[in-house]
Every structure is written in structure tokens, then in C-alpha cells.
Symmetry: D2
Subunit: 200 residues, 4 copies
């Protein structure tokens, strides 16, 4: 079994991105599956180029994309990705699309094919606050999730895919009153998510 | 050297109080000082009876009171206690005072005599999000802080005293989207606070 | 021209629902169009029975559904409705679906066909704080929005449709520190939305 | 009878300050009392120079200071002012004091002498969300409140004094998801506060 798990580079003025920090710290194998780790750029162009190639070449059984949702207090497993790119905040190469589709001729949305509720339940059992989120926004995170699910659908693959958003980690919130988690907790959350996606 | 450190029993429908959970887990000695741990009731009467007795009998060098501030995202060191008890939410024995003084003939407020800013800085250096708070509310936490500072002032003691509020811990926020911290982080925060209060 | 505009009955322990309070206060005609006002029940069954019938019988040019989003600080125009009903909080007849589709054999999502961005811009020009929302949740509001858009799509109608969420009004937040708006502001917001939907 | 009522100039990057916008729109007389309106600078030096002079020269029966508390969702009547100036954000002339007293040889705090709870109750009766606040911060607002109460105490005057914080008004929050109120509501709140302070 093979799991593709991605984190993002920093964006929005932050010096780190907890998603990649945690992905990097994951072991090479979880639950008998081999992990393929990839650090994605925070660009609409990048995720739409890189993810289809990675997924088609590697043919993973599970794809877990992860990203930072600064301000959210808990780990959230995304339910749905929508076919829109819309952001006043430019991405890391200065692109700020307004109401453009991620892909032309694609459906309005895809539901995550990861076991969303089972992952949330497993996280809670491991003492990690978690919930389902109904929006991954309309920035690069959503575009990445949409891209993965669309690629898999078009290719007729059976790969399970989805997206997990994580809060700031403590080092990002030392001086500001924003919710944050320990990096170890985020890393553990990803491990639980991988394991649950393989088992359920 | 002697440090009196207190936590509270649960209140407000919670089954645990992270302040006492963390105090209980502290070692018996920190930085050469002996810890006296006490679990306070969440009652206006209780804290005003117990704290003066404890402080006068034990004559600690440092008094650190701790409590839960559910909803706050970081560890907050309180700057000031005010001479008022005012709460629509009854305390744990059903008392809900309206605009009553904690003590008659006492000043309007006492500033914490702990090294507030130094504790905040030390917490941040240890990767624990922290800040100064300008209000301990008007519930039992504030009454406890006021009681300790008033007792020490009236007795002419040199004891440093203050109050630290902590967020929910993860087990309290598993299913609700509220900020929370790991219990280990809260425990570490208290250890840092004790050490800093002894050193600065 | 005909505009169907709906508000909801109260739910979640509230005694009023600002959406219906405001719809009720709208004039009978706006911008040359006749308004058909309807108060919807907060039930998954109700909205799926009533809305298709109303839309097919009345054949309105514009459908604006409105609802309360307690806690949001501004008027939000929803971008998308998703094909899922999922709620731990039972609806007003006690139904609490878990991960059920609103309609079988329907797409994962529909985008609003109202001029979402133009409404937001018009509201701001009229001094009403407003924004686009990317999730109408998975409760009855989303089910209503999905139902309207699905009905229109299946019937091959040209009707524009969408959903507007409004904050609590002042009378609902007098004693709690939650964002709220004046009822007059909410009513004016709906008038602006109707006018913009007819013009743009 | 004479009422001194003040608002502040803009600060923190805002182009207006709702407190002064509302004070300016108040009538010249309320409940038989004459209003003296003053626009204060957002400077620690300014408020400590201007308020003592104004209060001693005008000898008002009531002093109501008002200011903006961006982010708060309701009108808050402050309970207490503390003897500290502490801010990383510089005031409007670039001064950023750290842990300095507002006045040497002054008490740690003064409680407002306005009828705080009666004002809150009157606001709610007039459909304006309101509450008591236990901290006016440690920026210029608190310094102004402390200055007024200290001046009155030292002069042995009977003047009632206090501070009211108001949310952003709509024009400040059109494009950001922050709580806001209509300017008319803020103006009405001040009128209610003046009237209640004269009557209760």
C-alpha cells in the first residue's frame, strides 16, 4: 500500500507551515503502507500541475493533502472541494484569481473519499480535538483538494483522497492570542489519519 | 524557599479543571523550592476562608493561583485583581453575588506581585503561547487572587503572588471547536512560572 | 417579474428568526417585481416538499432564500449548496440526518445563480457589512438552497436562485456578547438583494 | 446640570472613530442637562492634560468618556480603570509606555461612579445589546478613565464618571467580518447613558 501525503510551503507572511513541518516528521511507513511525502507550493498553478502528475505516476492507495487553517482551533477534515478559485490574497507567485474554475468541464464539487467521520472519531479517541469542516475555502488548499479528487475521478482510480486542515502550531502563536497546537499533536493527527484511511 | 500553588475543582459543567490537573502533576520541588499544592473549591466563601489561613500558616515565598479560562487560546498571567464579586453564574455552592466587595475596607484593586512580564517572556521562550491579561473577571478566580494579595498586604509579608489562567485542555474540547492545549503544556507552563518567580 | 423570497421559522431555542421578521416587513413590490413571501419550516422534509411545489407553480424569475446564521457578524451571500444533510442538532420535527443526500441522483453541489458578488458590492455601497460565504452548512438552510437550485436545474428553468444568511438581530443579543444587527438593516439588505438580482 | 461627554479622534489605522462621530451627533441638551462635548486626542499625554483642566474648570455633574473597542460586539460600560499605561501599539504621538503608572501616588484602581448596571439595563430596554466590561485595557482609553476618576477624587467632587466602549460602526466593517453597529444605534446608546446617569 502507498500513501501520498502532502504539506504546503509557508504563505501569508508565516515563516513555517505546520502542515509540512508535521508531514516531514512522519515515519516512512505507517500501518504497513509506504509514505510518499511531498511539499507543495502555495500556487494555484503549482498544485494543478504537480498533483495530477504525482497521482498518475505513483498511483497511491490514499491521498491525504494537508494545510494550515490559521485561526481554527482544532484539526478539521474537509468534506468537500468546490470548483472555484477566488482570492483577494495573491498566491505565492502573485496570482489572485476571481471566480475562476479549478478545471473547466469539471463538476461543481467533489466530496472527499477519505473516511471523514472515521478519521474525526479516531482523532478524538487519541485526545486530539477534531471536527468535520464544510469548506476548504477558495484558495490554494481547496484547489489542491479539487485537483486530487478530479484527477482520481477522471482516471477512474479507486484512490481515496481528501484534505486535513490544521491550526497554527505554538511557535506561530507565541505572542498573539490565536488558537494553536503542539507540532507533535499535529504530527500525531496525520499518523492517525493515515492509519484510519488504510483500515476503515 | 516555599511555593504555594493552587488549582481549582471543576465548575461550569466541566468534569475536570485543567488547573488542578496540571498542579497535581508538578514535581514536589522546583528550582530548589518546595511546592505546597492545594485544590481550591470554586466558592466565594471557600477561597476567602482557605487562602488567608494557608498563607499565614505556611508563609510561602511565592503564591501562584491557577484557574481555567475556557475560551482563551493561550496561557494568561493576570495583572490585577479587583475588589468585587459579581456573577450571574452561581458558584459551586449556589452563591451568585451582585456587586459585592471581596473584602470591606480593602482597596479597589491589587496588582499582581509576581514578575508578570518575565513569566510571559519565559513561557514564550519555552514555546508556550502566553500573554498578560488585564482582567481575571469577577468570579471566584478574581476573588481568590484578590484574597491572596490582600492577605499578604495586610500581613505585611513579602510574598509574591498572582494568578495564571489556562485554556481548556484537549480532553475538554474534543468535540467542540474551542481553543485547547495539551495537559503537558499547561503543566510545563506552571513549572516555568514557578521557576521564573523564584529567579527574577 | 416575480420574486419568491423566503424566511424561516425560529429554531435552536430562539423565539424569533430574523430572516422571516425581515421578509415580512418587505414591501409587496420592489423594482417593478412582485414579491411572493413564504415562511419555511425548519425541517428537512418541509423544505424539500414546499420549495419544489412553490417554484414550479409560481415560476418566479428570482428565488432568494434567507436564514439566520447566529454568530456571523455580517450579511453573507452563499456561494454553493452541497448535496448532504448532516446534523447532530435535530430539526424542528426531531429529524437529525447523518450524511444523507438532499436528493439521490443529484450532483454533489450547485453554485448559486444569483449575482453573488454584485449583491455583496451593492450591500456595501448601502453601508451594510457583507461578504461571500463558502458554506451554508449541512443543516436545513443548505438543504433548502440545494432543493431550490436542483428543482430549477431539473425543470430547465432560467430562474436565478440563492441564499442569504443574516446575523442575529439586536433583540436576540441584548444580554449576550454576540454580533447582531438592527432588524431595519436586515430588511434593507433583502431589499438591496432583490433589486440587484433583478438588475444585474 | 452639566454633562461632559468625550469621544476620541481616530487611531489604529481607522479613518473615523465611532465614539466621536456619535458624540458629535448628540443634541445640545438631554434630560434638562447641557452637554459639553470634547474630542480627545489618542495620546497618553493629551488625556492627562486636557481632562483634569476640563473637569476642574467646567465642574460637570456627569462625565461620560467614550471610545472605540473594535472587535467587541456590543456596547460595554466599563467597571474599573487601573493605574497603568502599557502598550506595544504607540499612541497618536508615538508614545508606547511599558508598565508606567497613569499617576504616581494614585491608587491601583478606581471603580466607575456612573450607574453602570442601570445604564446597561436601560440600553437593553432600548433594544441595544450591552454589557459590563471588566477591563478598559491599558491603552489611552483606560488612562483617560483613570485620569477623570482620579481628578474627581482628588478634588473631592461629587461628579459621576465612567467610560463606555462601542463597537466598530458599519462603515468600518463593510469588507471585514467584524461585529459592527449602526452609527444611529451608538448615538442612541450615548443618549440613553446620559439620561440614565442623570436620573438614577
Amino acid at each position: 500500500m502507498k500513501v501520498l501525503i502532502t504539506g504546503f510551503e509557508p504563505f501569508g507572511g508565516e515563516e513555517i507551515n505546520p502542515s509540512w513541518e508535521a508531514v516531514e516528521r512522519l515515519p516512512e511507513n505507517i500501518g504497513g503502507a509506504r509514505l510518499i511525502k511531498h511539499r507543495l507550493p502555495v500556487t494555484f498553478r503549482g498544485v494543478r500541475e504537480i498533483l495530477p502528475r504525482l497521482i498518475v505516476e505513483e498511483r497511491p492507495d490514499v491521498v491525504i493533502l494537508t494545510g494550515q487553517a490559521g485561526g481554527r482551533p482544532n484539526v478539521t477534515v474537509e468534506r468537500v472541494a468546490i470548483n472555484v478559485m477566488d482570492s483577494k490574497m495573491p498566491d505565492n507567485e502573485g496570482f489572485a484569481p476571481e471566480d475562476e474554475p479549478v478545471f473547466e468541464d469539471a463538476p461543481a464539487a467533489y466530496f472527499a473519499t477519505l473516511p471523514v467521520k472515521a478519521i474525526v472519531a479516531a482523532l478524538r479517541r487519541k485526545n486530539i480535538p477534531a471536527g468535520v469542516s464544510n469548506t476548504a475555502g477558495t484558495y490554494v488548499c481547496n484547489a489542491a483538494m479539487f485537483t486530487a479528487l478530479h484527477t482520481i475521478a477522471v482516471a477512474g482510480m479507486e484512490t481515496r483522497a481528501g484534505f486535513i486542515h490544521v491550526p497554527f502550531i505554538h511557535e506561530q502563536a507565541l505572542e498573539k492570542p490565536r488558537p494553536s497546537m503542539a507540532l507533535e499533536t499535529v504530527t500525531r493527527a496525520f499518523e492517525v489519519a493515515v492509519r484510519t484511511s488504510l483500515e476503515v
